[in-house]
Amino acid sequence: MSRTVIIDPVTRIEGHAKISLHLDGEGRLAGARFHVVEYRGFEKFCEGHPFTEMAGITARICGICPVSHLLAAAKTGDKLLGLTIPPAAQKLRRLLNLAQICQSHALSFFHLSSPDFLLGWECEPARRNLFGLMAADPDLARAGIRLRQFGQQILELLGGRKIHAAWAVPGGVRSPLSDGAKAWILERLPEARATARLALDRFKPLLAGPLQREQQLFGQFPSLFLGLVGVDGEWDCIDGQLRLIASDGSVLADHLNEDEYASFLAEAVEDWTYLKFPYYKPLGPQAGMYRVGPLARLNVCERIGTPWADAELAELRAHHGRVVTSSFAYHQARLVEIVACLEAIEQLVVDPDLQDRRVRLRGSLQCQEAVGVSEAPRGTLFHHYQVDDNGLITRVNLIIATGQNNLAMNRTVLQIAREFIPGPLAAGAEIGEALLNRVEAGIRCYDPCLSCSTHAAGQMPLRLQLVAADGQLLAERSRG
């Protein structure tokens, strides 16, 4: 009789999900599924609203990365208005996104993931969290919290509030950088850099030691990678064009036009999850599996363009090869991107354009369909709107970063489960803590934001279920 292991809820990720492991009649692992169990329906209830309100509405999808939706919506609005926004607005939006990526990555690394590495996998779950980290290493925990605050504070300095600031609008942004904001950012940058250095110094030695197995185990498989790159192939987070590469480093498609995303991306749907399964259409759902996010951005770019970040990227590539295929490296990629963001902020904040008062253009509707794209902390984000003659939304499609990692997340869960359930599982066998920890942490590599990906909300504890071939629930463990 086959059965299924279910992990529900999955903890320390943004949103609500469960994991199920399916066993065949002999008790061997037959499949693994990462289920996202919430639904909100933003795409439907945006219909009938003016496109000018989309930035405000879609930013409410998520409290962690509202800026990503804000920017994608504003960029889509620019195109509907046929506007090329002023250079100051372009740079200010970039500054906003850099700060957003910095704060979100700090949250993922310090608050959510680092307890696994720094306290150890075998540390009891009740202590393996930020509070446990604060007890074990208060200086590091405090520095991590303050690094996130650094990013959040820039969001507030620009947009007036940390969360859901409706500051980026179709046509540009609402206000330039103030003298006070500039001074604050410059004053806090050295501390932020020191924190990034501290995190890298603490994390990298673990890769050659206690985390070796995880690097081989957590999503180590070939796939495609998608992300934005600048005109010269450099790392980018808001402008630039889409590039898709294979795991051998070959560029499969370059300068992809986001307006034509439907020609190269397709979304599969399964009845056991609200999260769709985007894939690269020309290769189909199996070979077309691709990953997005910090690791993908580092894989698709030629270089980052700032000295420290480029040195870190070179070190990452020296260890893993030109294309890094282990999803565990998402953690290191996040740290590298924090460095990239801090260096980019340092360069950008002294640019006089940021204080130019010409930050917004107004216009009238020029077309009835547009696609906007930006790099969210978790990967490439697409907003696609269709509007009527008066600018009221008639159709919305949002392709979210976490969704694009869905195929890879499922495969990662399967890979980890295979390692921990190598042979037939005896009937009534306990689900080991080791499996529970690793499966959860495997998902956490992707820093999934399920609020965004299903446009759904909630906390994310973990539940794991073991289910027989006939659907019977054999065992269940939960946490959270």
Partner: protein, 239 residues
């Protein structure tokens, strides 16, 4: 000029005959909550927020449409009145689709401010979630019926200040709604001069400039009706 003397919340006030209780209260230094009232427009008593108790009368009266009379003893801020006012605001929220989170008027909305002022932290009445439309057919402005509280300030400002008579309240009871022209798309109403007075007068995010997004509506400079022309506003196209 005849003068009437009355008591409002213990204050003895002398005002010219014909003065409203709202104006008399203001003369006594008391500010009553209002949503449908706008100085300079004919009062209609639609919002029921300025209800007051008048000694000897069995029912509450709207101060904006009630005349101050000799010897009246008026109470404007009793526990009962506060309760009724809060209930009135709750009903506004329950009746329409008021989502402050992404509303153009958030931060400048008189309904939102009133909810705070009367201490409304939730509605005790079930939300009706009516299906309502946005009319964005006008080149400069749009009407989001979800946010309309039927205060009729737009109706009056259009008729009394601009003389265009574009707006009216159609139908009855819970089917009441704001209509332009003869229930036409706003952009097709020839009478509209695109003066923008209705947008300025609207206390919520129902009437807005089309290119404004979340929280960009400017607060009404009450009590004086601001008469700025649309083309005087930076960045706005000429009408």
């Amino acid at each position: 000029m005849a003068v009437v003397t009355l008591q409002i919340d213990g204050h003895v006030v002398a005002v010219p005959a014909g003065t409203s209780l709202l104006a008399a209260s203001r003369a006594a230094g008391l500010e009553l909550p209002v949503l449908c009232h706008l100085d300079g427009l004919t009062p209609v008593g639609a919002c029921r927020l300025c209800l007051v108790e008048i000694e000897g009368q069995g029912k509450l009266q709207p101060a904006c449409t009630s005349e101050a009379l000799e010897g009246q003893v008026v109470a404007t801020n009793t526990a009962d009145l506060r309760q009724w006012r809060r209930m009135a605001v709750e009903l506004f929220f329950a009746e329409g689709n008021h989502v402050c989170a992404y509303c153009v008027a958030s931060g400048a909305c008189e309904l939102q401010a009133m909810a705070v002022a009367v201490g409304m932290d939730h509605s005790r009445f079930p939300y009706q979630y009516p299906l309502r439309q946005v009319d964005a057919s006008h080149p400069l402005f749009s009407l989001d019926a979800n946010r309309c509280i039927l205060c009729s300030r737009c109706v009056r400002v259009c008729a009394e200040l601009e003389g265009a008579h574009v707006w009216a309240i159609a139908e009855r009871g819970r089917h009441c709604r704001l209509v332009a022209g003869l229930d036409q798309p706003w952009g097709e109403v020839d009478a509209c001069t695109s003066c923008g007075h209705c947008v300025e007068a609207c206390p919520t995010g129902a009437l807005v400039h089309k290119d404004d997004s979340t929280a960009e509506k400017q607060p009404h400079p009450a009590p004086a009706l601001q008469r700025r022309r649309i083309h005087d506003q930076p960045g706005r196209p000429d009408p």
